[in-house]
């Protein structure tokens, strides 16, 4: 594989320069949903890392190794020095690859973002897994959980092989994924969220399973600002249902509904300690990663 400059590329999804920048970035979790396993993420509770957390009075039975003797020398009272517990975090990449994602390069952008998050997760010593939803009723294609730099190529190969199509509703895909979940952490949802189902249930399920939800909605330009010229019959790419549409005031109403739909999704995420962002498939990948998501504090 070669990039635009002729140099060999690690993956078709990400340019090498993007890849090198991603290696220095980490996914920033707010809620710190972590597993018990040791890792690099500081857990909310005290532990044995080198990261100082707090002092507390010594009580009989405490390990005297953790007594701060300097303070004892000054105050003649024993205080226990507490440290953070560093635990492992599970990063779940949930990619919607149904037919609706095949329009206007949405699936490509979803795969690129998934690859980027996998790089940041694996190099951050997180446990990273991926699940791709295609057809309803079928188990989603999954990978992982994996850790370490050695798993990068495995992820790239997996994501490169993802094909669009199918009619899997996103909420059903989430349900199917959670049946085989391993650990707590972050669930990164890469989808257009255009489903007739109830996304509230999907978000609830993720939250109750210990996932902080990162929702990234990818829409095409025609979905953001559609143009309808003359009478036309719309066909749903997933359900094959049809709808007759005539021009007029529809476009204004459509925009109202689309904005309300996005506000609703963002609210559902926020109410469950999650985050939500909507991008256009035409937006630059570098702008999304290194500008939009960094400014919003999703990655550091």
């Amino acid at each position: 594989m070669e990039g635009a400059t002729g140099e060999p590329q690690v993956t078709t999804l990400l340019d090498n320069r993007v890849l090198s920048r991603l290696e220095r970035l980490r996914i920033h979790s707010i809620r710190r949903f972590t597993d018990k396993k040791r890792g690099e993420h500081l857990a909310g509770r005290s532990g044995s890392s080198n990261e100082f957390s707090d002092y507390r009075d010594y009580v009989p039975g405490d390990d005297v190794r953790f007594v701060d003797w300097n303070i004892f020398a000054r105050l003649n009272r024993p205080y226990l020095k507490l440290y953070y517990q560093e635990e492992e975090m599970h990063v779940a990449l949930l990619v919607d690859a149904s037919a609706s994602m095949t329009f206007e390069g949405k699936l490509e952008r979803a795969k690129q973002l998934a690859a980027a998050f996998s790089v940041m997760g694996l190099l951050g010593t997180e446990r990273v897994s991926a699940a791709v939803f295609n057809s309803a009723g079928h188990h989603p294609a999954t990978l992982g959980p994996c850790t370490g730099r050695a798993s990068l190529l495995k992820f790239f190969t997996f994501l490169e092989a993802v094909q669009g199509g199918g009619d899997a509703p996103l909420e059903e895909g989430i349900e199917a994924f959670l049946k085989y979940r391993v650990g707590r952490g972050i669930a990164i949802l890469l989808s257009d969220f255009l489903t007739f189902g109830d996304m509230k249930r999907g978000f609830n399920r993720l939250f109750s399973s210990g996932f902080e939800t990162f929702g990234i909605q990818i829409l095409g330009r025609a979905e953001l600002d559609p143009e309808v010229a003359g009478d036309v019959r719309f066909v749903d790419s997933e359900t094959e249902k049809t709808l007759d549409v005539s021009p007029g005031e529809l476009l204004g109403i459509y925009r109202e509904y689309r904005e309300a739909f996005q506000r609703n999704l963002a609210q559902l995420c926020r109410q469950r300690s999650g985050r939500f962002v909507s991008i256009c498939s035409e937006d630059s990948l570098q702008w999304v990663l290194f500008d939009l998501l960094r400014r919003r504090g999703w990655i550091r």
Partner: protein, 634 residues
């Protein structure tokens, strides 16, 4: 009025195209196949379609907007094919006389190089003729000082257009009454309800006419500024010269300077500059020698635009000045004595008693044998005219003056009260004043028992009969006597043109004397005008029309015997006055309408435009490529 006749169709047979509506509707529903467009998801669209706003009645109506637009388009095409028209007011009239003013002011232009009022009127009449329907007839009548019917009622466009082309401006004032009277006479043969009048409104406000039909007075647009000569006359001066007076006036908006040139027998006789202010007139005097008869022409050259040219030229024929030839019977010593004191008089018989002439300017006699003498003015003293011999007798018991016509030219400034008269003219029993008038005599002085002074006009001659002899009265001793003589001389001077001359206006030339009776004469005038007239028993040519400004030459047996000029000389025509309302008898009035008669208005162009707009709207909404999902993935 039948409302169904408001609209008409030139090609109603094309209405069969309405049958195309059936296949149009049929094909619309058969071919109503919307283009399919694959989209990612109907999630949002489904919600949008379910919105109440989308399902409003108007939006439902819009679903079939394409069919509606196509029906409108087809309807417009069908309607245009039937060539509909809106019937104007004129079109709803089956028989229409059209009066066209062709007086001098109708030649006025609206701007330099523009169109004349008559041309503008003819254009409107052409439009009417062009829009005539098969059941409509038009009669063309032009009028200036007289009216002329050019065609009978006809719908033949060729005849009407040829007649219209022949109507030309006449340099005479207009008389709308004559045209209306002719139209009224026409109505007796061909009934009609409305008459169309095209004019610039240059005629008197009050018309002495009882309007028996509806008059549609179409006033033409106003012309540009104009100045011209409105009066030209000459007075004799005591030193044997003519003072030629010319008056210049303009239209209300005319304010210009001009040069006035005077020529005598085509030789320059004077040149002056004149400046005319708005609403003002200027008067100029030129002195011309009276040593010979001469033709004087006054020309006006305005500096700026002048809309009317015919009034910039005026002609006057000045006779050679001479003494007034007066015959006074030797027995009338008092008369001869009074006449000898007046200037420019040649008295007959002379001091030697010679009288070599038989024709005089003024004859005063008390002798019956002098009745054969010819005089333009005659005063018979103490002689009863033969036609009146059975109406009155002259007694000797005396009488007195009861009343007299103070406005008579001969009696001006004369006091006749308390005059003693020894003769007594007495009317017979049951003889009234009307009996004298029936014989052509007008009573100027009434006595106690009958008339004392009578006047009779015979052509150009004027005869006064004093039924009492002045020598048997105190009249010669009164102050009024020399005044009477002076009045007679002045009157004779005027009648013979030796004291005052006025330029002849266009219209009809004054009687012109020729050499022989019943002689066929040819009259040649300006603009190729020729005419043949026969002289009457008095060797006069009368009633010669003079429609244009210029010289008119009279030829008798190939020899030029006279030349007279005719000029417009009308303050109304020069002023281009334009009235808005004509007042008729019995309080009727007609107001001008300047918008032109309501003609047929073809609607096909409007319908075609509507069809084009509909087509454009349809293209904008439905024929743009719906390929906005071209980037859909596989």
């Amino acid at each position: 009025m039948d409302s169904m006749r408001l609209f008409g169709f030139y090609a109603p047979s094309m209405a069969w195209l309405a049958l195309l509506i059936v296949p149009l509707v049929l094909f619309y529903f058969l071919k109503l196949k919307r283009p399919r467009a694959m989209i990612p998801s109907l999630v949002l669209w489904q919600q949008v379609i379910n919105d109440q706003r989308v399902n409003s009645p108007f939006q439902r109506f819009k679903r079939n907007l394409l069919l509606l637009l196509q029906l409108i388009l087809l309807g417009a095409v069908i309607a245009a094919a039937t060539q509909p028209f809106w019937r104007g007011r004129v079109s709803r009239i089956s028989r229409l006389p059209i009066l066209i003013d062709c007086s001098a002011s109708m030649a006025a232009l609206d701007k330099p190089g523009g169109v004349s009022r008559l041309d503008a009127a003819k254009q409107k009449v052409r439009e009417i003729i062009g829009g005539l329907l098969s059941d409509q007839e038009v009669c063309l009548i032009s009028f200036d000082r007289t009216a002329r019917k050019w065609t009978d009622f006809t719908g033949n466009r060729k005849i009407l257009l040829e007649a219209l082309a022949q109507i030309a401006v006449q340099d005479v004032p207009s008389d709308v009454e004559d045209a209306l009277r002719m139209t009224e006479a026409l109505a007796r043969s061909y009934p009609f309800g409305e008459v169309l009048l095209f004019s610039d409104g240059n005629f008197p406000t009050q018309a002495d006419f009882e309007l028996s039909f509806s008059l549609n007075y179409q006033k033409l647009p106003p012309a540009g500024p104009n100045v011209g000569i409105t009066s030209l006359n000459a007075n004799r001066t005591p030193d044997g010269m003519w003072d030629v007076f010319a008056r210049f006036e303009g239209s209300p908006d005319a304010e210009t300077a001009a040069t006035v040139e005077v020529t005598r027998d085509e030789a320059p006789a004077g040149k002056e500059n004149v400046r005319l202010a708005k609403g003002q007139s200027e008067r100029m005097v030129f002195r011309i020698s009276g040593d010979r008869a001469s033709s004087v022409e006054v020309k006006l050259f305005p500096d700026g635009f002048d809309s009317l040219g015919s009034d910039n030229r005026a002609l006057i024929e000045l006779p050679a000045l001479r003494s007034l030839w007066v015959f006074a019977a030797p027995s009338l010593v008092s008369y001869r004595h009074a006449l000898s004191a007046l200037p420019a008089i040649r008295l007959f018989p002379d001091e030697q008693g010679k009288c070599g002439e038989s024709s005089f300017d003024l004859v005063i006699t008390d002798r019956a044998e002098d009745l054969a003498l010819e005089g333009r003015i005659s005063l018979y003293v103490g002689l009863v005219p033969k036609p009146l011999s059975h109406l009155l007798t002259v007694g000797k018991e005396g009488t007195a003056v009861v009343d007299w016509r103070r406005d008579s030219p001969i009696l001006q400034h004369i006091e006749m009260k308390d005059m003693v008269i020894l003769d007594n003219p007495r009317s017979g029993e049951n003889v009234r004043e009307g009996d004298y008038e029936s014989l052509g005599y007008e009573v100027l002085v009434h006595g106690g028992n009958g008339p004392l002074l009578l006047e009779k006009r015979s052509g150009e001659k004027l005869a006064y009969s004093m039924l009492f002899h002045s020598d048997r009265s105190t009249f010669p001793y009164r102050i009024g006597f020399p005044i009477l003589i002076s009045n007679l001389v002045r009157l004779a001077m005027q009648q013979t043109g030796l004291a005052e001359v006025r330029a002849n206006p266009t219209g009809v030339l004054p009687p012109i004397g020729v050499r022989s009776e019943n002689s066929l004469c040819r009259v040649e005038g300006p603009d190729g005008y020729t005419r043949e007239e026969k002289s009457d028993g008095n060797r006069k040519l009368s009633g010669i029309p003079a429609p244009h400004v210029g010289h008119y030459s009279i030829f008798e047996q190939g020899t030029k015997v006279a030349e007279v000029g005719a000029s417009l000389l009308s303050a109304r025509e020069t002023g281009l006055l334009s009235i808005e309302q004509i007042q008729f008898n019995e309080g009727l009035s007609v107001t001008a309408a300047s918008g032109g008669p309501k003609m047929d208005r073809s609607l096909w162009a409007l319908l075609a435009m509507i069809g084009f707009c509909v087509l454009l709207v349809e293209w904008l909404y439905y024929h743009r490529s719906p390929g906005w999902f071209a980037g859909a993935g596989n």
